[in-house]
């Protein structure tokens, strides 16, 4: 894929729900906006960092806040482009390309929306390779790129510049700003050189999401062929292999909040035997275990598919009695280093089990 046109957006959005590992919210509205802007403005170039000229500057952008707030406070078509322009103006820089900070969920589509209006290319890659809850967990941050200078834009067009903050400091500050500005904002952050982008992104995730979404849509309602083709796609990617970990129905569902996170545990019972499984949630799916045996943990991807349709399901949509097929997929290499595991390892999500990577 060298360009993204309106016809690719539905595939990217479905692939992005899969890669969101239970988090990321519903990308439907982002999809509507991206389809519309690409229909009006024509396709956007999708490039690797190597295609950027010397001295090029790239910024990451996306939405930050509460998906529930945006059920009512809708995003606007031009906000991502306005935020990039404001960033350039405030900091007196020229931005040459845009990158998504999170391929999981609607944030996969926000840079595409801006790129179409600004005639800029989009980098094929992102800062997570999945969805994760906090800014310091981005591969940009892990590569040592500071999040600031960053610019936040709210629904009224009000902007604020954030300077000289590291990832740990930035996260609560930007979160609070989102809370006091309607619950959902657009941010432009992580200003990078070509070389920094090349070293920091999880590469090719946008085209991967599109390919994944196409397979999932083609095989809707047919789990077996869907799994076969999805496994092939992952085998040819920089992610690990697909491991079907369990199939079963939800027989128990507990949810609570601790420190602003949705913490949940889902009890699954397999269809054929009396095996039970526990799936833990902290905004995303973070661990699957069978008794004392941990089958998968973050940062590996844990994905719940609807057993009948094969479609990926967000954690917030899980319901008692629902029938699931749970997959584990090895995380991209970026998250498997000892340094990265200090930030995105099981312990960072309150889990006791050590990280035992899936192949």
């Amino acid at each position: 894929m060298k360009t993204i046109s309106a016809a690719d957006i539905h595939d990217i959005s479905v692939g992005s729900v899969f890669l969101a590992t239970g988090g990321g919210g519903d990308p439907w509205v982002s999809r509507m906006l991206a389809e519309q802007v690409l229909t009006d403005r024509g396709p956007v170039q999708l490039i690797g960092p190597e295609a950027l000229p010397d001295g090029a500057r790239v910024v990451a952008l996306g939405g930050v806040g509460a998906p529930t707030a945006s059920l009512e406070l809708l995003p606007s078509l031009e906000d991502p482009a306005i935020a990039v322009r404001a960033f350039e103006r405030e900091l007196n820089v020229t931005v040459d390309a845009l990158v998504s900070f999170e391929v999981g969920g609607g944030n996969s589509l926000v840079p595409i929306q801006a790129a179409a209006l600004l005639d800029l290319p989009v980098i094929d890659g992102d800062g997570m390779g999945r969805a994760l809850p906090e800014a310091q967990m981005m591969t940009f941050a892990l590569a040592g790129i500071p999040p600031t200078p960053a610019l936040a834009l709210d629904y009224r067009g009000e902007t604020e510049l954030f300077q000289s903050l590291d990832g740990e400091q930035y996260e609560p500050i930007i979160r609070a700003w989102a809370h006091s500005h309607g619950g959902m904002i657009t941010t432009v952050e992580h200003l990078m050189t070509r070389e920094e982008v090349a070293s920091a992104i999880v590469p090719k995730t946008i085209s991967f999401a599109a390919a994944l979404g196409q397979v999932i849509r083609r095989h809707e309602g047919h789990l077996k062929p869907l799994l076969r083709e999805v496994s092939q796609l992952f085998d040819e990617s920089l992610y690990g292999s697909v491991h079907p970990l369990c199939t079963g129905k939800i027989v128990g569902l507990e949810q609570s909040i601790q420190d602003g996170y949705d913490i949940g545990s889902v009890h699954l019972e397999s269809f054929d035997t009396n095996t039970s499984f526990e799936l833990l949630i902290k905004n995303e799916f973070i661990q699957l275990s069978q008794g004392d045996t941990v089958l998968a943990t973050v940062p590996d991807l844990i994905i719940a598919l609807d057993f009948e349709s094969g479609q990926p399901i967000n954690a917030e949509r899980l319901a008692y009695g629902q029938r699931l097929c749970v997959l584990g997929i090895g995380a991209p290499p970026h998250y498997r280093t000892a340094d990265a595991l200090q930030v995105v390892g099981p312990a960072n999500f309150g889990l006791k089990a050590p990280y035992r990577p899936l192949s």
Partner: protein, 524 residues
């Protein structure tokens, strides 16, 4: 208390006469194009058998797909003017976004996007100004016949911006009809607005339809009040259907599950409804169909109504059986009576298999005598392999849940039934959807985002329960007989610890069930 439940389907109209939950009699007639014709046909057949029916009738309850079909067929829709508040948020997401173009053309004449509405905190998002009002007046004067739909962010929590604009415009234009999105309830601005637009576009038709029913019933001197099924398995008064026809979307599949509750008095069960082409497996939970988390999409238009939790498989009376003993998903459907082997046709169907197995008595059994016992066993092995896992999956942890098999093709499953499966009498079984329509209960809802520090949890739930009870009453329910169906509390992620989305639902018998007025005597 005698209730007539009527289910108007595409091919058949079923009517069932139920006395305090006890099935008395029922008929199945072919549907005619004209829905009240179908109702009258069914009524007339029944009155012949039950001469005092009309005098004894206390209530009529109707299940209909007419309003869904009007949307699907793009007919009888009155185009609306859609005014959305909340600018500048939502620029690029106009009313009708994501709709099929031809449906939007039929249902939306023009739209405006103006300031107003609220944030999740209850603070004002932006304020409607004189210029906004002027553009409203301008739009209304250009389209004097169109009903108006007003939607605003967080209107279920802060209704005043929708209501304020409706009031201001109504002062200038008192004969115009205004619909505020909050009357459809529920969070999700686009979904609520979609439902409100379809609803407003259907209202003139709904008035015609309801008036038509009244005329048809008047023709037979029936003065009993009538109610219509909605998508959650409960009913709405005829008057409210005139105002809220969209609430009937996707009401079909819930009626047979509801019917099982009615005839078996079970509160919890798994229901297998075997039709001509497919079987639907659903769950009866505390007397109502269990809902899924999937929303109702009508012609790809997303609404915020929730679908009943069903799994379907290609197993019905007309389903074709292949040489290797596998079956479906192809079906001869309504042509069963001419195409199946037992009726002299040349297609081997599951009905033929059931006749050969001695489970069903239709057609001429000698026409299937050549099928070997081994083949019949093979087909039933396949049926078991298809049905058992689905039943098991629908079960959740309730291992003791009884399984009730209903529908015209129910007998097919007899030879592979397990001990805890039950079958209803054939007459009742094929009319169970009409009986479900007769199970007239009303429901009420409230759905808000609440900050538990500002409004303590117990007070919030109390207030929402009152709100749901108001909603219940306007549907025809009885406040002091209401029971709580559910309270759902979901934390709103990324907004700190205290923000919750709370949904309260209540239900009760409907008013005429409680005080069986002999309406025609009272009104005469």
């Amino acid at each position: 208390m005698i209730v007539l439940g009527i289910d108007v389907g595409g091919t058949h109209t079923d009517a069932a006469l139920v006395d305090d939950g006890r099935f008395i009699d029922g008929v199945k007639v072919s549907s005619s194009k004209d829905v009240h014709r179908s109702i009258l046909n069914a009524l007339d057949v029944l009155t012949e058998r039950q001469p005092d029916l009309i005098e004894r009738l206390d209530l009529i309850s109707l299940g209909t797909t007419q309003f869904t079909n009007a949307v699907v067929e793009r007919r009888a829709l009155a185009p609306v003017l859609a005014i959305r508040l909340g600018a500048p948020s939502g620029k690029g997401l106009p009313s009708g976004v994501g709709w099929p173009n031809d449906l939007a053309d039929h249902a939306i004449k023009a739209s405006l996007h103006l300031k107003g509405g609220h944030l999740f905190t209850g603070e004002s998002l932006s304020t409607l100004d004189d210029q906004d009002l002027a553009s409203c007046h301008d739009l209304l004067s250009k389209h004097s016949d169109c009903p108006v739909v007003i939607s605003a962010p967080f209107s279920p929590i802060r209704p005043e911006s929708e209501l304020g604009l409706a009031k201001a415009l109504a002062q200038q234009d008192p004969r115009r009809r205004f619909t505020c999105s909050q009357t459809m309830g529920g969070l999700g601005l686009l979904e609520r607005e979609n439902a409100a637009i379809l609803n407003a576009a259907l209202r003139p038709y709904a008035e015609d339809v309801v008036d038509g029913y009244h005329r048809a019933l008047d023709d037979r001197s029936i003065k009993a009040p009538f109610f219509v099924s909605q998508n959650d398995g409960t009913v709405l008064s005829a008057g409210r259907i005139k105002a809220l026809p969209a609430l009937t979307f996707a009401s079909g599949p819930t009626n047979s599950i509801r019917g099982v509750a009615e005839v078996t008095a079970l509160k919890d069960a798994i229901v297998i409804d075997v039709g001509g082409t497919t079987s639907d497996i659903g769950v009866l939970k505390q007397g109502l169909p269990r809902t899924s988390h999937q929303v109702v999409e009508i012609e790809t238009v997303r609404t915020h109504f929730r679908m009943p939790d069903l799994v379907s498989l290609g197993l019905g009376g007309g389903t074709l059986v292949h040489e290797d003993g596998t079956f479906g998903p192809e079906s001869v459907g309504y042509e069963l009576g001419s195409k199946a082997l037992v009726f002299g046709g040349s297609s081997l169907t599951l009905s033929d298999i059931a006749v050969r197995a001695g489970a069903m008595a239709i057609g001429d059994p000698s026409l299937v005598a050549h099928l070997s016992d081994g083949f019949i066993d093979l087909v039933y092995d396949r049926i078991r392999a298809a049905v058992y896992p689905l039943v098991d999956q629908m079960r959740g942890e309730q291992t003791a849940l009884p399984v009730i098999v209903v529908g015209g093709g129910a007998a097919i499953l007899r030879p592979c039934a397990e001990a805890y499966w039950s079958f209803l009498d054939a007459a009742v079984s094929s009319l169970v959807n009409a009986i479900g329509a007769s199970a007239a209960e009303a429901s009420g809802y409230a759905d808000e985002v609440i900050h538990f520090n500002d409004e303590p949890r117990t007070l919030a739930i109390e207030r929402l329960t009152e709100k749901a009870l108001d909603d219940l009453e306007s549907s025809g329910g009885v406040r002091n007989l209401a029971a709580l169906s559910s309270i759902e509390e979901n934390h709103v992620p990324y907004l700190g610890n205290a923000w919750f989305r709370v949904k309260v639902s209540v239900r009760s018998p409907i008013a005429p069930m409680v005080q069986p007025l002999n309406i025609h005597k009272v009104s005469e």
